[in-house]
């Protein structure tokens, strides 16, 4: 009995210690959200106060009413860009992964190996040449310069090919005997069965595209075509020294991710351990 009690006591002690560290870990986000509802003076005046004296919404209405910075437009641009990326990427990546996983064409293995070796190339090295390629394709200063490279991501071809291979061939072979060809097997059988992996890809794509900063920073120059990340950065570096407004603008770019994460933590955590997603 006393051993059990001691064990219990110890596990609660560790829990409490980890909870405190965890809370410190998310304190910046708590601070950010609570400050965005405070009056400016209280942001740094009462940094530990989590529930504001009075909830005010003016930090948000001021942002959307700003004459120089068009937050609504940036929001719209980012949503359109992210949704386009996800829709195209899911189609392109799953379609290709099916080819590599389920069709025994000549050269399959070699071709796939070449793709995998390209996984080693760090993205930074391509920032400069891509600029000139985008210019020649006339997609510089448009969202396509962010959408297209993401759609031809190598990592997810690898991940989905793995997921498709895990689906037993006997299922698709049975369908083939019934007269189905590859397009039907791909769309009717494989896609529905690989749903969890596809969801993981969608979530990570959402996070990466939404959070992308260097892409829009380098390739997009017109302010009305800019994305939220860069927009917020311009705004907070600009004339504004108002801490409450800075916090509400930061909340604006973070909140969709927080909501998404809140409802889909399981997919994030399992997705990153099962295949160790790249940073």
């Amino acid at each position: 009995m006393s051993l059990k009690l001691r064990k219990n006591l110890r596990s609660w002690t560790v829990t409490i210690i980890l909870m405190v560290i965890g809370l410190l870990c998310i304190y910046p986000f708590i601070f950010m959200i609570s400050s965005s509802f405070k009056i400016s003076a209280d942001v740094l005046g009462k940094p530990l106060q989590i529930i504001p004296d009075k909830f005010i919404l003016s930090n948000y209405t001021d942002l959307f009413g700003d004459p120089y910075y068009d937050f609504a437009q940036w929001y719209k641009n980012t949503i359109v860009m992210v949704v386009t990326t996800i829709v195209l990427k899911v189609f392109i990546i799953t379609y290709t992964a099916y080819g590599f996983a389920k069709i025994k064409f000549k050269g399959n293995g070699v071709l796939f190996l070449i793709l995998m070796s390209a996984l080693m190339i760090p993205g930074d090295i391509m920032l400069i040449p891509r600029y000139s390629i985008f210019k020649n394709l006339h997609i510089l200063d448009s969202m396509w310069s962010l959408v297209l490279p993401s759609c031809f991501d190598i990592y997810f071809v690898f991940m989905l090919r793995q997921a498709f291979i895990a689906i037993p061939d006997s299922i698709s072979e049975a369908a083939e005997i019934d007269g189905c060809h590859h397009f039907t097997i791909y769309s009717r059988i494989i896609l529905p069965l690989a749903k969890p992996s596809i969801v993981t890809m969608v979530l990570f794509t959402f996070v990466w595209s939404w959070n992308d900063y260097m892409g829009p920073y380098i390739y997009i120059s017109t302010i009305s075509k800019q994305m939220l990340s860069v927009g917020i950065k311009l705004f907070t570096e600009g004339q504004v020294a108002d801490p409450a407004l800075q916090m509400s603008s930061a909340t604006l770019v973070l909140i969709p991710i927080l909501i998404l994460f809140f409802f889909t933590q399981r997919y994030f955590v399992e997705g990153s351990t099962s295949s160790a997603v790249k940073g």
């Binding site: 609660w12 930074d124 000139s132 351990t273």
Partner: protein
Amino acid sequence: MQAETKTKKYNRQKRENRYGAMFVTPYICGFILFQGLPFLIAIGLAFTNVRYISKIHDAKFIGFGNFIKMFHDQTTMDALGRTALYSLLYVPLIMIIGFTMAYLVNKGIHFKNLVRSMFFLPYVANMVAVSVVFTLLLGPKGPFIKALLAIGVENPPFFLYDMKTALPTVVCIAVWKGVGLNLITYLAALQGVSGDLLEAAEIDGAGKIKRILHVIIPMVSPTTFFLLISSVITSLQNLTIIQVLTQGGPGQSTTVMSINIIRTAFTRFETGYASAQAVVMFVIVMVFTIIQWQGQKKWVNY
């Protein structure tokens, strides 16, 4: 009869080849355009004197000129040194904290999923939002400096605004942001460590520290190996985090290679030279990965 099956098989292979082409060709085209070609151009540009990226057709071949210039360029050499310092701080910190946290979480605590999610949250957060918040929190009027003053620290450091502390502060923020991934990867590995083995070690009289050092750490060494390689690579891809936090400042104190490359290319307009620097970084990453790959036999147990 046999000939017939052979023709059938041949026809089937031909059909598979045709389908294969239909399924992978579109991707291969996009891959060449957005991944393969940029990589080759980067290497090509490194040997030219191109200045403005838009005037790429004026390129003139100058051999190893850019690489030689790099070793005489003090700014770039300093940036290289800072990159090394950044990695030397970042990698051990994220590895040790990640393992320790995972070990504690794995000890059978309550609210495991909640704790895990709290540590993982910074990993998915938007870097711009993070930088805005930290600039304020660590700023001269922020709560951190006030707290330090309150407990009697005479000259508190100005974190991101101080030449001496800016780089370590950036590293700490980077570790805070990235450690969640290491934690959950280690957690998955720790859950695979057999309880029988630990019990056997305990019966043999191995104390807690001994069990960690001689049983647990060797058991998770494949994960350590994987995380070590990916953490080194992440530590070199620090462009976004530094660009939004300090833009390489104050002074040059956080100008690491990635920042130096972007500056060379897009503010000083020396595209060829910037590409040469990027190629050098790529080679360094490759060399490190190969060394680690070779060295793994000595300490990784599969």
